[in-house]
C-alpha cells in the first residue's frame, strides 16, 4: 500500500505512535494479500463463516406499513438478524479471522455500547482466540447485558477508569494495550475509523451489505434502489451499505447522524450535546486518522452525546468525511426525540425493534416524508434503510428515555407492579 493509499482525499492516514507502525505495515500487507487478493482462500473462508456462523445473507424486506405511510417503497436491509444482533459481526469476524491468518495469538478491542465488544467476543470464541475487551467504567455500568454477553463468551472485560469512562477513553486505552503487545496481538477496531488500513479494511468486510442489497434489489425490483439510508456513528454500517453504490450516481446516499438534544455546543464544558461530526465537525486528527471531529477551538476533542451509545463518538470514518465533502453522501442530523419516536414506530408498525442507533435512520424518513414532514428532501420511489441492529440491548434505556418525554406513540409499562 503506497502512502497515498492510506488517504481518502486529505482524510485518513496513519497518525499513530511509531511503536505501532510496524504492526500497521504488517496489517496492511495482510489486508492486501488476504482480503484484497484472497490469498490462501481467506475471503472464501470468511464468506463461508459469515454465512454459516453469522447468518448471511440477511433479507431485504419490504416494509408494508412504512411504505404506506411515506408513499414510497421502503425496504429494510435486515442486519439486525445477523448473529449478535448487529452488522458489527461482519467486521469482527473478518478481523479475527485475519488475525488468525497473520499468526496473532490474542485479540483486543474497544467497545462503547458493547455491540462491537460482543461481536468480537463471539468471533474470538468461534475461532478459539483469547480476547480482551476494553470498556469505559460508565459504559460497563449502563450496558450490563452486553457485558454479561462478553464474559459469557469467555472474553475478558477490562474497565477503563480514566476520563468519563466512555468509548473515546476505551479506544485510547486499547491503543495503549496494542502499543505494548503489538507483536502477538491484533487490535480489532470497531468501525471504519483509526489508522489506515482499518477504515478501508472494515469497509471491505462490511461491504457485503451493499453487495447483497444490489443483488436483492435487482432480484426484487429489477433495478437499483433510489436511495440508501443508514445511521452513522463511526460509519461502518453506513460505508458497508454504501460501498457498492458510491459509483452509481443515481443512488442517493444518506448518512444519518445523532443530533442528540441540540446542535449547540458548550465549548466551556468541552461537551457537544450531539454526535454530528459529519454535519458540524471540523477537520482534525483523532485516533490515528485525519477526519471530521467534534473539537473545541484549541483542538481538544469534545465529548459527544446521543441517546444511542453506538453513535456517541466525537469522530467519524475518514472515507465518509471525504464522501461528504465530495457531495456524494448527504449527512443529516436526527435528534434524540425523533429517534425515540422512530424506535417506537418501527416496533409497533413493522414488528421490528431496532437499535436506538438504527432508529435515527428511520427518524430521517419521518422528518422528510411523515405526515408532519418538512418535505425538504424529495425521496425517490424506492429507498433502502439499513437496519444496522436490533434493540434488545436498548430496552431499558429506551423505556427510561421515553418516560422523560412526551412522545405521541410511547407505550406505557403499567403491567409491572
Amino acid at each position: 500500500m503506497s502512502q497515498s493509499d492510506t488517504k481518502f482525499g486529505e482524510y485518513g492516514g496513519q497518525y499513530v505512535p511509531e511503536a505501532l507502525m510496524p504492526a500497521i505495515e504488517e496489517l496492511t500487507d495482510a489486508y492486501e494479500r488476504y482480503v484484497l487478493d484472497n490469498e490462501d482462500g481467506f475471503m472464501d473462508e470468511f464468506e463461508a463463516r459469515i454465512s454459516d456462523f453469522g447468518g448471511r445473507p440477511t433479507p431485504l424486506q419490504y416494509a408494508e406499513q412504512l411504505s404506506a405511510r411515506y408513499g414510497v417503497d421502503v425496504y429494510l436491509k435486515r442486519e439486525d438478524l445477523l448473529h449478535g444482533g448487529a452488522h458489527k459481526l461482519n467486521n469482527a469476524l473478518g478481523q479475527v479471522l485475519l488475525a488468525k491468518y497473520m499468526g496473532k495469538e490474542r485479540i483486543i478491542a474497544e467497545t462503547g455500547a458493547g455491540q462491537h465488544g460482543t461481536a468480537t467476543a463471539m468471533a474470538a470464541a468461534h475461532l478459539d482466540m483469547p480476547c480482551e475487551i476494553y470498556m469505559g467504567r460508565r459504559d460497563i455500568n449502563r450496558q450490563r447485558p452486553n457485558v454479561f454477553r462478553m464474559r459469557i463468551n469467555g472474553a475478558d472485560v477490562t474497565p477503563v477508569d480514566i476520563g468519563r469512562g466512555t468509548l473515546k477513553e476505551a479506544i485510547s486505552e486499547t491503543m495503549r494495550d496494542w502499543a505494548t503487545t503489538v507483536e502477538t496481538t491484533h487490535y480489532v477496531i470497531g468501525s471504519v475509523v483509526g489508522p489506515a488500513p482499518f477504515p478501508a479494511m472494515v469497509r471491505d468486510f462490511q461491504s457485503v451489505i451493499s453487495e447483497e442489497i444490489r443483488e436483492q434489489s435487482i432480484e426484487k425490483l429489477g433495478e437499483l434502489p433510489g436511495a440508501i439510508i443508514a445511521c452513522a456513528g463511526g460509519g461502518s454500517n453506513t460505508m458497508g451499505a454504501f460501498a457498492d453504490f458510491v459509483d452509481e450516481p443515481d443512488v442517493s446516499l444518506y448518512a444519518i447522524e445523532a443530533g442528540g438534544s441540540s446542535l449547540t455546543v458548550d465549548e466551556e464544558a468541552g461537551v457537544a450535546p450531539h454526535s454530528s461530526s459529519l454535519s458540524t465537525g471540523e477537520d482534525g486528527v483523532l485516533h490515528g486518522a485525519r477526519t471530521k471531529l467534534l473539537q473545541d477551538s484549541h483542538g481538544q476533542i469534545m465529548e459527544s452525546h446521543s441517546v444511542s451509545s453506538g453513535l456517541d463518538y466525537s469522530g467519524v470514518g475518514p472515507e465518509l468525511a471525504y464522501l461528504v465533502d465530495e457531495g456524494r453522501v448527504t449527512p443529516v442530523s436526527v435528534d434524540d426525540d425523533a429517534a425515540l419516536e422512530a424506535f417506537h414506530r418501527l416496533s409497533q408498525d413493522e414488528g421490528i425493534i431496532p437499535a436506538l442507533e438504527t432508529a435515527h435512520a428511520f427518524g430521517f424518513l419521518e422528518e422528510v416524508a411523515g405526515p408532519k414532514g418538512d418535505d425538504s428532501v424529495a425521496l425517490p420511489e424506492t429507498v433502502v434503510v439499513n437496519v444496522s441492529g436490533r434493540g434488545d440491548k436498548d430496552l431499558e434505556s429506551a423505556i427510561e428515555e421515553t418516560e422523560k418525554r412526551d412522545l405521541e406513540n410511547a407505550p406505557d409499562m403499567e403491567v409491572f407492579e
Binding site: 497518525y15 507502525m21 485510547s172 481538544q300
Partner: protein
C-alpha cells in the same frame, strides 16, 4: 545552544506537563528541574486523548487541562519560564494542526509561534515519519528540530528510512508500551541501542526510567541521554494530592533531577573506553 550540543556529555532530559497542576506551580517545577541539572527539557502541551501515555501522565494531562491550559497559554508559559536549557514541545498532532486564526494554513502558525517563544524542537507521539512532511517543512523554515521516536519494533528498512530524516536527537523508546515509571531496565533498550550504533546522532532513551541507577545503566549501555517523565510527574501528583507547598515539591523534583543527572554521568564512566585512547 542547539539540541545536539546538549548531548556533549550524557544528558538528562526531564519531561513535565506544562501547567500541571497550575500555571505558576508548574513554572516553579520546570525551573527546579533546570537547577537539578536538566540538559534539555521536554514540555508537554496536554491533549485530551493522550494515546501514548500511561496513567501517570494521563492524570497530569487532566490536571493541566482542568487548570485552564491551552496552546496559547502554553506559549505564554514558555515565555514566562526562566531557564537556560533548550526546550522541546511534546504534544499531539491535532493541537499543532488546529492552531492559528480561522482560515490560516494548518501547522505553520504553531511552528512559527513555538519558534517565537524559543522552542527548539518537537516530539509528536502520534506523528510517525509517514505523516510528518508538513510539520517538517515548517520546522525547516523556522529552524526547529523534529525528534522522532524509535521503538523496539522499528527495525530494518523502516529504521534506515527514518534515520535519514532525524534531527536534534532520537528518542529511543526503551520498551513497547506507554509511558510510565518501571523498576527495571528492558533488554529491548540494549538491542535498540545496538541497532542505532552506526548512526551519528544523539540517542536519548525514555519510557520507564525512574532512578539514578537506571540512568547510570542506560548511559553505560551506550545512550547519550536519559528521558524521564512519569517518575517526575509522580512527584508533582503526590505533592498536589498531599497539599504540599510548591517549594517542597520543587525541592523534591530538583533532588531527583540531580540524582538522575549524577546517574547519567556515572554511567559514562562505566562505558568501555573506545579502543586506542
Amino acid at each position: 545552544m542547539s539540541l545536539e550540543d546538549a548531548f556533549e556529555e550524557p544528558a538528562f532530559v526531564p519531561y513535565l506537563a506544562a501547567g500541571d497542576p497550575d500555571f505558576d506551580s508548574s513554572l516553579a517545577y520546570v525551573e527546579a528541574l533546570a537547577r537539578g541539572g536538566a540538559d534539555v527539557i521536554e514540555l508537554g502541551l496536554p491533549f485530551s486523548e493522550p494515546i501514548a501515555e500511561g496513567p501517570t501522565i494521563q492524570q497530569a494531562v487532566v490536571r493541566s487541562l482542568e487548570g485552564g491550559m491551552t496552546p496559547e497559554r502554553f506559549f505564554e508559559f514558555v515565555e514566562a519560564l526562566d531557564v537556560d536549557v533548550p526546550l522541546v514541545c511534546m504534544t499531539y498532532y491535532n493541537l499543532i494542526y488546529q492552531f492559528g486564526p480561522e482560515g490560516s494554513e494548518p501547522v505553520r502558525p504553531f511552528v512559527e509561534r513555538a519558534a517565537e517563544v524559543g522552542i527548539e524542537g518537537f516530539v509528536v507521539p502520534d506523528l510517525p515519519a509517514e505523516e510528518a512532511d508538513l510539520l517538517r517543512t515548517y520546522c525547516d523554515e523556522f529552524g526547529l528540530d523534529l525528534i522522532f521516536i524509535i521503538a523496539p519494533t522499528t527495525v530494518g528498512e523502516r529504521l534506515k528510512r527514518m534515520m535519514e530524516h532525524v534531527s536534534g536527537y532520537v528518542y529511543v523508546q526503551a520498551r513497547l508500551g506507554v509511558t510510565g515509571a518501571r523498576a527495571d531496565i528492558s533488554e529491548q533498550t540494549e538491542e535498540t541501542l545496538a541497532r542505532l550504533e552506526a548512526y551519528d546522532v544523539p540517542k536519548a532513551v525514555g519510557f520507564g526510567i525512574s532512578t539514578g541507577e537506571h540512568a547510570e545503566e542506560v548511559i553505560a549501555a551506550g545512550a547519550d541521554g536519559v528521558i524521564v517523565g512519569s517518575a517526575l510527574v509522580d512527584i508533582v501528583a503526590k505533592g498536589h494530592e498531599n497539599g504540599d507547598s510548591v517549594d517542597a515539591t520543587a525541592a523534591k523534583l530538583q533532588s531527583l533531577a540531580a540524582e538522575l543527572k549524577a546517574g547519567a554521568l556515572a554511567g559514562m564512566k562505566r562505558r568501555p573506553r573506545p579502543e586506542g585512547t
